[in-house]
């Protein structure tokens, strides 16, 4: 009986370690995969997880986008997540988010880029602060120049 339980526990851990899931970002501890800065900003952080289950953290959405452009590895990624600007610490699907580049809202790597889950709120911020809205695809194009 004991053996079975320990086997089950072992299986459980193997299962856990193999699952492809986003990881919790350890703010102040993790560093950015693109620029090596320590990730601290809950409103601008980002993450991607490969299909093999390895998670990489980014301190800014521009770092994530530039890394994906550079490596050209979007096919190999299971999750691409960006922080929702208005709910600090919450990561949302990058492909569904709306992006705002506005001089009034600064981001860690100087691109003035923020991500919004809700398009309506992005519109509000655009009206208030000015700038330009992007979708995931147009954002990648913007940084590939």
């Amino acid at each position: 009986m004991k053996k079975i339980i320990s086997l089950l526990i072992l299986m459980f851990f193997i299962f856990i370690s193999c699952s492809v899931e986003p990881k919790v970002i350890k703010y102040g501890d993790d560093h950015c995969f693109h620029c090596d800065m320590t990730v601290v900003d809950k409103t601008h952080s980002a993450q991607y997880v490969t299909k093999k289950g390895k998670a990489y953290m980014f301190d800014a959405v521009e770092c994530l986008t530039m890394k994906i452009n550079q490596e050209n590895n979007e096919r190999d990624l299971a999750f691409i997540l960006v922080a929702d600007y208005i709910t600090p610490g919450k990561l949302v699907d990058a492909k569904k988010a709306t992006y705002l580049i506005s001089k009034k809202i600064k981001s860690p790597m100087g691109a003035n880029l923020s991500a919004f889950f809700d398009k309506k709120i992005a519109d509000e911020y655009l009206e208030k602060h000015g700038g330009k809205l992007y979708t995931w695809n147009s954002l990648k194009q913007h940084f590939s120049k």
């Binding site: 703010y27 102040g28 501890d29 993790d30 560093h31 620029c35 090596d36 800065m37 320590t38 990730v39 601290v40 900003d41 809950k42 409103t43 208005i86 600090p88 610490g89 600064k106 790597m109 100087g110």
Partner: protein, 415 residues
């Protein structure tokens, strides 16, 4: 015409001087709040605030006035999310205050002192306690930030601001401040021609000092200890780094100095002691490293990304686990006349220079770069053997990566 202008200016400055007055603020004075005093004041006036507790925030100043605190009067913002003093004026000064309890905001930049579009000013001898941002400077020039003590209580959270945050400014001097418990101690973004000297920056979550897109700056005689990482210099040109001390920056993401995409810098006479990585060098070109001390670090120098035309001369590498870690087979950097405590050669002609060239890269550092977990094998016999065999007949390290003239004695030894 010119004389007329000069005369006018003289008259103006004379009468200006003659009319300046002093306004006292205290609980028993005629003027009881700083806000009222600011309203009453004219250009050139002095406001003297006596000892006491002032529960005020959102003080807006658009005049050239001098705010002086006597015996550190306390301005308590009671955790409100508004900057305590916001200034948009030229020729002003602020000194001798204790500003505390500034609220945290994710979206707004809330500071003890917020200065924008100003020039010729002094912020001196103030205490900032429990603040979100200490001092924010935007689009300013010719400012002096001196003798301030700034502390936050940033824990492992990201909900913290920077001690001194400078954005799009030039000709600044930041001297003699003590900054602790913030996100970045001192942060310069798009700041040119500025000096950062004699500051102590410690226990900050991210960096002691941080340069982003800032050119022609100089920092010297600063101390950076126990920060997430000591100093980060990123995407900047012509930065001079002299006589700084970087120590006890330990941890997985910890560097004494992080250099990313830096060109044409000078790094001289610095001390790097007990950091996980003393200098992490990523894509940096034409940098001169001279007379630096690397003592008891995990890695003294770690190269990632292409680095070209860097020169390392007269540095001391003493008791580091790895002196140098390299990521490519090509080397375009020059290592000459450094002292390496790992050097096992000899000096038969007694000229102080080793007769055999020294190879600073250990083979094992390549293994560790690929698979960090192998670090547990660091002190094993097998690793010693492969390191030795690589030294004798190098296969993995670039052929020309060696110090032809290793010194037998440390330069300016600190002991």
């Amino acid at each position: 015409m010119r004389i007329g202008v000069l005369l006018l200016f003289l008259i103006y400055s004379f009468t200006g001087n003659a009319q300046t007055s002093r306004i006292d603020v205290c609980s028993s004075c005629k003027v009881k709040s700083i806000k009222d005093a600011i309203k009453l004041a004219k250009d050139g006036d002095t406001i003297l605030v006596k000892k006491g507790i002032y529960k005020e925030s959102k003080l807006f100043i658009d005049k050239s006035i001098h705010l002086i605190g006597e015996d550190y009067p306390v301005i308590d913002a009671e955790n409100k999310t508004d900057s305590v003093i916001a200034i948009k004026a030229d020729n002003f000064s602020l000194s001798g205050f204790k500003i505390k309890n500034i609220g945290m905001s994710y979206i707004k930049e809330v500071a003890g002192v917020f200065i924008s579009y100003s020039k010729n000013f002094t912020i001196k001898d103030n205490i900032f306690d429990n603040v979100f941002y200490g001092i924010i400077l935007q689009r300013v020039k010719y400012g002096l930030i001196k003798d301030n003590i700034i502390s936050g209580n940033a824990k492992n959270e990201s909900s913290s601001g920077n001690g001194v945050h400078v954005w799009k400014s030039k000709n600044m001097r930041i001297e003699n401040n003590t900054v602790s418990g913030m996100r970045d101690g001192i942060y310069l973004e798009f700041v040119n021609n500025s000096y950062v000297s004699n500051n102590t920056s410690k226990n900050n979550i991210r960096y002691g000092l941080h340069f982003m897109f800032s050119h022609y700056n100089e920092y010297h005689h600063n101390e950076f200890r126990e920060n997430g990482a000591g100093v980060a210099v990123m995407f900047s040109k012509h930065i001079k780094m002299y006589f700084n001390t970087f120590h006890y920056n330990w941890g997985t993401a910890s560097y004494g100095l992080l250099l990313k995409e830096i060109n044409d810098a000078e790094i001289n006479d610095n001390i790097f002691e007990q950091n996980t990585i003393a200098i992490n060098i990523d894509g940096c070109n034409r940098i001169n490293y001279k007379n630096n001390h690397f003592i008891r670090n995990g890695w003294a120098l770690k190269f990632t990304g292409g680095c070209y035309a860097n020169i390392f001369e007269y540095n001391n590498f003493q008791s580091n686990a790895f002196d140098l870690s390299y990521n490519s087979r090509l080397n375009d950097n020059k290592f000459e006349a450094n002292y390496w405590s790992e050097y096992s050669g000899y000096d038969l002609n007694k000229d102080g220079i080793g007769d055999v060239a020294h190879r600073p890269v250990k083979l094992f550092s390549y293994v560790v770069n690929k698979t960090p977990e192998t670090l547990v094998l660091l002190r094993s016999l097998f690793v010693d053997i492969i390191n030795f065999s690589e030294k004798v007949s190098p296969i993995f390290t670039p052929d020309n990566l060696l110090d032809q003239k290793p010194l037998m004695k440390a330069i300016n030894s600190l002991d």
